[in-house]
Symmetry: D2
Subunit: 425 residues, 4 copies
């Protein structure tokens, strides 16, 4: 199923209300000296990658409730992303997970992606699960394994992922290393970290010059006592050891309770070492629920640092953005639409922060005013700006409404059958 | 210093912008079927008590940086509350902490409060500090102490607080029992809880018929291993043992990391046992910082339950609302103005939730729509509603702006001197 | 495979060292006035149920690495428990999970269990997964579902579980209600709790007079925003509503970070409402790893309260004990042997606490001494007591050594084949 | 008051029991191939610094309950340390906090310390409180302040602290930088970190060649939203920027909930960047209670890494050890005696870990055995080893018993009076 702009009938009904709201907001913001056009343009340019495994229903260790009409092939996954991109105009990239989604016909896949205006963002390796017919098991680790044979298999896999990415036009690889231990004593921390450093260097050694290596961190899970790359400090240390094409990747859910993530983001950008960013939200652990559904203000504070860094840190590269959430109870496509909306809304709010006035207030230690400035941006209802950005690109004013109105899920079930199951988590 | 409505010159400048914003919002909300007048009326009626100790700068165990012009007497504290009430029209109550603020002349204090439109909300006892000349020490507990003599002193103090409250027209007493232990083994949990239950009953026995007893809970601090009333379950148990005039009081900061506080609120209101609510915010522990400054969406979800309960739970009494925050770095009055603004803004957003539509979506397990309904209310910029409520009552459209414009702090310093120190924390 | 006492050849080698260690410890403890025989007798009597699903390898949402020779039938599961009971003499009970382990031939199963000296402890219902051919789905809840049809199915299932338990001689049912929500707004908290209360009453109504109903609680997972029975307070409230045969069940892993669990245990026993206790350990969330492997001192403090309650709270019934852990990386039987050892060691330490001296120190507020008393018991190496208790019952002095020496796993693989997969998580 | 070895009458009563216990244990350990003498020698060599502020009672933000006979001068503080060192033989160092404890007569102080066998460990600066007559306030930060004047004052203070340390023979300075913010927006993270880096470099520039600079980190408190040096990663980054004499200092209480601290220790030692270690314990936040009183097994796991690092990481310097706890409810000297006992007990257990066998088990992925090896060491009652180490040095077999038997506190009260108050927290 492919959505064309002229199918977006809901826009016809929504346009007049939107225009009224947008004009009112734009006028109000302009009076405050804000360049509304520039903000809308930035929103329009902001594209977030969808991971290829996120189009099906996720589960928990207690089980999984499937959804209907899940995509059964890489082609269908691209098609799904095409649908939400047509509606939201902000999902113009896919992040492939290997070996779940190795293309069979590269040329055809690239043409399909191209026709849907979808780019190939970072490719992802997977050494946290055993593949059927794999010679070695990752049960006790991959890049950090005590066995050289296992490490070599994991290194070779990552190199293969880079090769696949090269074929598709990706320019980066994300290594999420699940390696760790579930019991005290199981791992020698220094040995495991040393092996990991060496393994990453071997991967880094074949990285093309115009590529980036993203090193993700996570404090726990799937292992329950330790993770080899447990925090940003460890990732940063490893990235520095690898070289200047290696960067830290921040995933929102991969932090201990109460972590000040925005400060981590600021520190990494200051050092020019923030490479990528994964969106999701959580209340308890790495819950992987819809970004913005639990702690939207924390996300705003993070975006405030991201915007600051994008404006002030030329030493830091352009970031790779990806949604990294699991969709247990909702239609995965609806969940992604809500995720994209949340990201754009928060980004827009962060763009409203008066950075000049803030710096002055900080200098004067006017704490009350600092808080006012952030709250003023945050409390502004920026949805008209986001809608305007979509409208300019011929997307839907209200993507979720359009999605339901077009009976997309019903159509997918009709095309694919009810009980398909997507590969992935 | 007393502020009269005709001093609010800032309103003259702000009125036209406000009118434009309010009319636009009111029109937009009306189209969605929302009764704007009713919401504004509810906002106008919502009054939050200011604790008598909150007008001075608070500190941490590492020290305290004083503020200028702090109130040195109960009269000056009321005066301070009068100022913020005149500006915000939402601080029409004071919550006295005894023995910090025992009136010397009840009649004069009542007249002063009356002239400032300030009511006497819950009175608070203090058995977590030793008073000079006290016979017994609370170092090892008060209502739960192993010594009957100490328990009796603490009971007598609480009864005296009730007597003071009766003189002033209060109708409730809040017991925050700091009692606990800092080391495993220090306390016998069962004995401590049993003593506490008996002590509370002795206080309850002298409670006037039209009074309420609020039992606060807290997981830790000032003790570091256990608190006798550690959670809502313990408070609820004790309230049930005391009788129907005893209720649980929820303080936002008194919870373990990640606690779902809104669910606790819902459960207590369902059982008719939520008596009071204390506002503040925190990122790590019981940080007691400005409400809404860290987790405004969590506060919104709590208010969503409070609004639901106020509409659907006749078994639950009207709630006592109080700000329970410490003001370390900001001007305490500015901090309170920001607190009141945050509370009203979030309350207004909660009032926008379409409860009927939500119930339908819940019934249909339409999780996506449930989230949309909450987000739609939350994302609406409701500040014009809050301003309108203030304006109707002759308060300031922008209280903080008015506070600064009127040079209130400068005036207070002039009147009181720079280095006064308020009693309290 | 069945282990007979005369196969325990390792005992022959271990007996002299053990005798030396035991005599030394017994002499030392006797001089402190401790009745060693009584402690050994209490250890010998202490039996912990093994859940029928715990004999196979568990997994995480990221996948599962199977173990070899897993039991493929209920008979084989009982056989596994028989093996560890023969070695440890402390696993003399099984806790069945329905529908995973519905007996086909009740008489045969009872005879088998009897021959292995295994009793049937609490039976467990499962409404957190959909069974093939089930009419209704529990995706959006079971006992709390908005649909009466779904609730009725879940109630009927629980009643069926009671019927199965009656056939086997169980005297209790454990309800772990996974119901909750993953997004704010998804559930109406009051409605969900009200439905749950009514559903539990309907189950309670068919509970035989000599049975107990255990109500488990958990703050999150499998749902990520709320759980209907989120804490002990909610469970306690529901148990009180149901009646005097209803009790709260405490699972170690089901708490928010930093919770003082020992105090919860003390409160519940004081009120006569603690019915059961589930053993595991965790560092981050509900990790379900081997009990005692992360926080043994916390377990000691809990056992200190359990011992106190067993001695001082006749109002509380005998407790149901169960291991509720998942075995990801270790041989499940080895993990259970380590679990049982850890439980007995900690129980023995708690039995050494001088309760009389402790009460005196508490009365005198001698905090230093209180800590000394606990630490003195905790630091004592009690393993000789635990070994003595096993030896008296013809178990293995060193069960793990015996297990490996007898090549149990190798034998099970030979009998069952390598790639069997146990039912369950 | 000074304690001489011949006053330790309690030893005479305790010696025969101790000898019996020690011989039994030594014999048992020798059979396992453990060199008991070497372990006792290592325990005897292990010395922990006492901070000069830790001899008085600490408090919380809710108040402070004083203790009797607190030391009123630096001389009396050294005297106190002398007492516990005479008893425990493990407190042979003091860590001065400036400006609380600036010596008036350096020569006299050095002679006194020398006579008590006390060395001067790291000196500590204090820029988290304002001193009377200070020109600039640290309310909004010190080394990170937006004002150069304030930063310069803080740098000058640190340089002065180094000068004081040089006079006394210290070889290191610890910088605990409390700087941070209590509200989002208050600080510009990048600016604050950049200022801090520059300020630290200016301090580092005057550091003598044989000195070390320790950079402490802490996630929160006294500020409630952010700390400039929030975690080990930030400290490590700053230490690397400063140079090879700069190191990270780990304080046990300065971590977010559930942090795997032992892994941080291992990583830092591997990189040769762990400089110092502060002992305390906590259940909720930075509770600063007696080390070993809450999570002794976590401390054991940390010590396991420290022992491993001391044996395998020549790239890492000798560590500075300090007790960093607050004494709210106990006699501070008793609390320190319990702290030292706990540290030595855990260190002894860590020394028992069979590192060779552990490495083998790790290589074989024998997770069960890895856990057995750690548990076997941990469960051993090593108190006889610790007592033997003290006895060899003419300390007390049972220091706490000796302390009480010698009526030390009563004597101090007699000498100093009841209501002295020690400087410090």
């Amino acid at each position: 199923m492919i959505i064309n702009p002229d199918q977006l009938n809901t826009n016809k009904n929504d346009i007049s209300i939107h225009k009224n709201q947008f004009d009112h907001l734009a006028s109000s913001l302009s009076k405050q000296g804000i360049e509304v056009d520039q903000i809308v343009a930035k929103l329009a340019n902001f594209q977030v990658a969808i991971p290829s495994w996120a189009l099906g229903a996720g589960g928990t260790r207690f089980g999984r409730f499937s959804y209907y009409g899940e995509p059964a092939s890489l082609e269908q996954k691209l098609e799904d992303i095409g649908i939400i991109h047509a509606l939201t105009k902000s999902a113009g990239a896919v992040s492939l997970h290997i070996p779940w989604d190795i293309p069979e016909d590269y040329k055809a896949i690239k043409e399909l992606a191209n026709s849907l205006d979808i780019k190939f963002d970072a490719v992802n390796s997977n050494t946290f699960q055993d593949q059927p017919n794999a010679k070695e098991s990752y049960k006790f680790g991959s890049l950090s394994n005590t066995s050289k044979t296992v490490r070599d298999q994991a290194i070779a896999h990552n190199r293969e992922v880079i090769d696949i990415g090269k074929e598709l036009g990706s320019k980066s690889i994300t290594v999420w290393l699940a390696d760790g231990s579930s019991f005290p004593g199981q791992n020698n921390f220094q040995t495991a970290l040393s092996h990991t450093q060496n393994s990453l260097k071997e991967i880094y050694n074949v990285l093309p010059d115009d590529w980036k290596l993203f090193i993700e961190y996570k404090p726990y899970e799937p292992y329950f006592y330790s993770t080899v790359i447990q925090d940003w400090g460890t990732s940063f240390l490893l990235a520095n050891e690898c070289g200047e094409k290696a960067y830290t990747l921040v995933d929102l859910g991969h932090h201990l309770p109460n972590t000040n993530i925005e400060q981590i983001v600021a520190t990494l950008m200051w050092k020019g070492k923030l490479g990528g960013f994964h969106f999701n939200d959580s209340k308890y652990g790495d819950d992987d629920i819809t970004v913005g559904s639990i702690k939207p203000y924390a996300l705003f504070l993070i975006f405030n640092e991201l915007v600051y860094g994008m404006n002030n840190n030329p030493q830091n590269p352009e970031l790779s953005w990806m949604i990294d959430a699991s969709h247990n109870l909702k239609d995965p496509l609806e969940d992604l639409i809500q995720s994209l909306e949340a990201i754009q809304v928060i980004y827009a709010k962060a763009l409203l922060v008066d950075q000049h006035q803030l710096k002055e207030a900080q200098k004067n230690n006017d704490v009350t005013l600092c808080q006012e400035i952030l709250q003023n941006a945050y409390l502004t209802d920026v949805r008209p700006l986001v809608k305007q950005a979509r409208l300019q690109q011929h997307g839907a004013i209200n993507p979720l409404k359009a999605y339901r109105s077009l009976l997309v899920r019903e159509q997918l079930v009709k095309e694919r059958g009810k009980h398909t199951v997507a590969t992935g988590l």
